[in-house]
Homo-oligomer: 439 residues x 2
Amino acid sequence: MSPRITGLHCIDLRFPTSLTMDGSDAMNPDPDYSAAYVVVRTTDPDVVGHGFAFTIGRGNDVQVAAIRALEQYLLDLDVADLLADMGRTWRSLVYDSQLRWLGPEKGVMHMAIGAVINALWDLKARQAGLPVWQLLARMSPEELVALVDFRYLTDALTPGEALDLLRAAEPGRAERTATLLAGGYPAYTTTPGWLGYSDTKLARLAAEAVAEGFTQIKLKVGDNLADDLRRLGIARSAVGPDVRIAVDANQRWDVDGAIDWIAAMAPHDPYWVEEPTSPDDILGLSRIREAVRPIRMATGEHVHNRVMFKQLLQAGAVDVVQIDATRVAGVNENVAILLLAAKFGVPVCPHGGGVGLCEVVQHLSMFDFVAVSATMQDRVIEYVDHLHEHFVTPTRISRGRYLAPTTPGLSAEMRPATLADYTFRPVEHADDNGYRTSV
Amino acid sequence: MSPRITGLHCIDLRFPTSLTMDGSDAMNPDPDYSAAYVVVRTTDPDVVGHGFAFTIGRGNDVQVAAIRALEQYLLDLDVADLLADMGRTWRSLVYDSQLRWLGPEKGVMHMAIGAVINALWDLKARQAGLPVWQLLARMSPEELVALVDFRYLTDALTPGEALDLLRAAEPGRAERTATLLAGGYPAYTTTPGWLGYSDTKLARLAAEAVAEGFTQIKLKVGDNLADDLRRLGIARSAVGPDVRIAVDANQRWDVDGAIDWIAAMAPHDPYWVEEPTSPDDILGLSRIREAVRPIRMATGEHVHNRVMFKQLLQAGAVDVVQIDATRVAGVNENVAILLLAAKFGVPVCPHGGGVGLCEVVQHLSMFDFVAVSATMQDRVIEYVDHLHEHFVTPTRISRGRYLAPTTPGLSAEMRPATLADYTFRPVEHADDNGYRTSV
């Protein structure tokens, strides 16, 4: 007897990161890193899956409510049946016509679907006894193509083209798996560069990053140009000429303002400029990129679905695609984005940090290396040394590289003590309509 | 003493429209028109504002939760102070850095802000003793520009350009107001064209629409080409050669499929093709438009913010801008979109239908006529004869035209009996984490 889904256990977890200015940037001065955490439970207490959507505090309760709204779609379903065709399972949530109105395919509802889909992948990988990256990397090209929804993509990538890409990368899967298990995957670190840190702390952390083996760091910019130029100089002095320094403006500028600001930073040789403007502004990013060539443009952590990534690639607006583990609708949609990036020959350098984003996203880059792009050239996964201690199987970093996870699952499970200690408990009362309200 | 905000009263309203196939289209086969309804309450029981976000059923509870999450931003604030600078009030919600992570500026959270902003406009207009269209149309160009957030817009429209546009339309405001009050604003009707209706019902309703004075109707298409061609023929026979027939695919096609399908419909002379593909696909829509010239492209009811509208206009992807009353962040953001459309010389023909979308959106087109574009040429507001009876001041249609509302406010208030009869009450229990769950 295959187990059946009995419910989604949802938890509103918030960490008071604003107290230390960890994570501070030009648009997010005081984030409280949070997770709308979900456990997919089944009739078998040993068969569970863990997932979450990452938020930065207020509104995490809304994200939890959105995940909870998905419970009705899964209750009593047969787990083996759900997991046997994850493409169908994905469509059953994303294409529910009534829920779809709330996006479509964007914002709170889409992230909720991502959390649940990721929890199902966690469950599927546990059952297979494999980490998700390896579960994906052992699937056939046909099985991988079946995970992807090609609606709205076919003008850029057809199922046939995706199949060709995956078949071309089939030879060498075993060797690349061995390479990963032996040597890991390159990381870069944003730990030194938060906007709220002092110059002294920046210099110390930048030097430490190099000593630890990182070959790229990232600084937050965009609040004050004089500060940015001074901090870039401090960082360059600390890391020397050979370490790459990326900068991240977190959507701070308009198009023309971005062009001017980036031109002013150009003498400091930023390796890439991340989120110079709105993540929705495909045409704007394209114009910025043209104006500041050859400085690379990077975006993606707030890009809400595969249709937007498709256009960023079609428009030639990005040099670096930054997927995020919990912004889009989970593993399936990220597989689509990896395939799009491979088609256009653009490297994928995932967004990490937050709560558990590094833990989950490492699986996608490692799968990409084994079975899609088949290269690590100019590819790095963001690493931030925050909150890993809350995970049962935290990321392992050594000499500036992510070590490949070997535990079955998606590495998304948090420790029981964390769930107990960081559950957000607002003071509550019910209003006269029966809804709860926070006071 | 100016009153203070005491809370947001939120109601989950759902109407069982799926039973009659009202509202059925190629992507939304069985919508249950719903509203996440909000009443902004104050210390003065006579000082209230009404707003809502429109959804089509499941997930309306999530939309309600998102509106409720905004209460903490307004509690105890001085009403006069909030309303005196609605641009500042808008930014205080849209730019809350933690909430912003849930979009940014899209989906459930953005629509929630729209509902609350619209409720505040309702309140402001009631205090002024004017319908919202007239309240806006009496504001100075400087005051109107101050409502708009120009972040991410300045490469297409600067505050100075917006000011010039509004100043150019200042002469004649009084005459155009009189024109509106005397003769109303042109409407078109989608009532005949729902996909679930029989050919007989289509023919009858199309003929009735012409008899009632409408000069444009709209048909839903995109499910089956043979059906679409037959139904277009039936509609053309019913309305004669001079009535415009628009078609609406509700996002059903990929880019290449859209081009083929539209080419096949071309002999029936569709006046515009609405939502041929994903509302996010600016480049795709632009390619479709190029391929099927001179057939007009229309989109907007699912376009999530002003940055997307900006790009649709910059890319020359749209001939008709379809604003929606509750998709973006309320009146302020729609003023920005009206200004963008005026800058690019593209007519705005709003999305109506659903629950109360006609009631609210008419104010925006009428304001546009008086103070922005200053013309009704090729401009029509969608009209659907559904659910108006639930409103205290429903739209009034005569000879195919919206009569200008004269009651103070935004026409968003629903009748007390409706609030009592259509409140959605799921069976509920609390799980072991204290959250409610629907079973």
